[in-house]
Symmetry: C2
Subunit: 151 residues, 2 copies
């Protein structure tokens, strides 16, 4: 298996939504159907046209087998430091356990360094025990509470 | 006391950095000195020129007494939903306990609704017990682990 990690194109969107929907939590909140709901395409274009957002896929040949989004944000805190935030990390259930998730996160860490970020961060649902162990193994520390409010 | 909440201007930056530095955790990582380190000004301009970032201050007349940053991010997850992220919330130590923090967060929630966000989120250091109670009282749920890695 030869993995390529690159910026997503609109042709990858169908596979991306399929992966997001094929997930214990994602199955309750995504709508993977044909044609794909227009809201996904609008979000894709908002992300693609923003220099501070990157939608990244891992591919094995033509097959999209992983996805993540990286957001770069300038803050006043930390003497005006930039941060990278990772969100929506998923790998295809067909290749789970092959280290694709690790490759994606290591790619994000490298990209965050290139962009001059002093910190990389993410939140993970407390229901995802495996994910928490996975991120700690990669060097993240669970120093913060992740608070959310639905609007 | 008549509080105005508005987008920050460059003239507010000195007061903002003073508040960030006057904090148990912030005192270790900020540099409040004259002239203000240029990195703060660069971050201010990066934030101000980005339509998806807003640096917000609370003022009592000419005095800046509170600050927060709100970032609006389009995601593929949640059917292509936008989220608002709050960061760097501080109030002046001179007015602590007067409800300025509550006003800032309620302003952010309203602004997130105006921007069509389905979720508003933030992370808070697990060392900040008071902050966790404060956000829970305002309706946030600590459903997620907040993971960070210094680069």
């Amino acid at each position: 298996m030869k993995i390529e990690i690159r910026v997503a194109t609109e042709k990858d969107l169908d596979s991306i939504v399929a992966m997001l929907a094929d997930d214990v939590l994602g199955s309750k909140r995504e709508r993977y159907e044909q044609p794909l709901p227009n809201s996904y395409k609008k979000a894709f274009h908002a992300i693609s046209s923003d220099p501070n957002n990157e939608l990244i896929v891992a591919c094995n040949g033509d097959e999209v087998i992983g996805v993540q989004q990286i957001t770069f944000t300038p803050y006043i805190t930390y003497q005006g430091g930039w941060r990278a935030t990772i969100e929506g990390v998923r790998t295809s259930s067909s290749i789970r356990g092959k280290g694709i998730g690790t490759e994606l996160i290591q790619w994000a860490i490298q990209r965050a360094r290139e962009r001059g970020c002093h910190l990389i961060q993410l939140t993970t649902d407390k229901a995802r025990d495996d994910a928490l162990r996975f991120y700690k193994r990669l060097g993240f520390s669970a120093t913060h509470e992740g608070l959310k409010m639905k609007l």
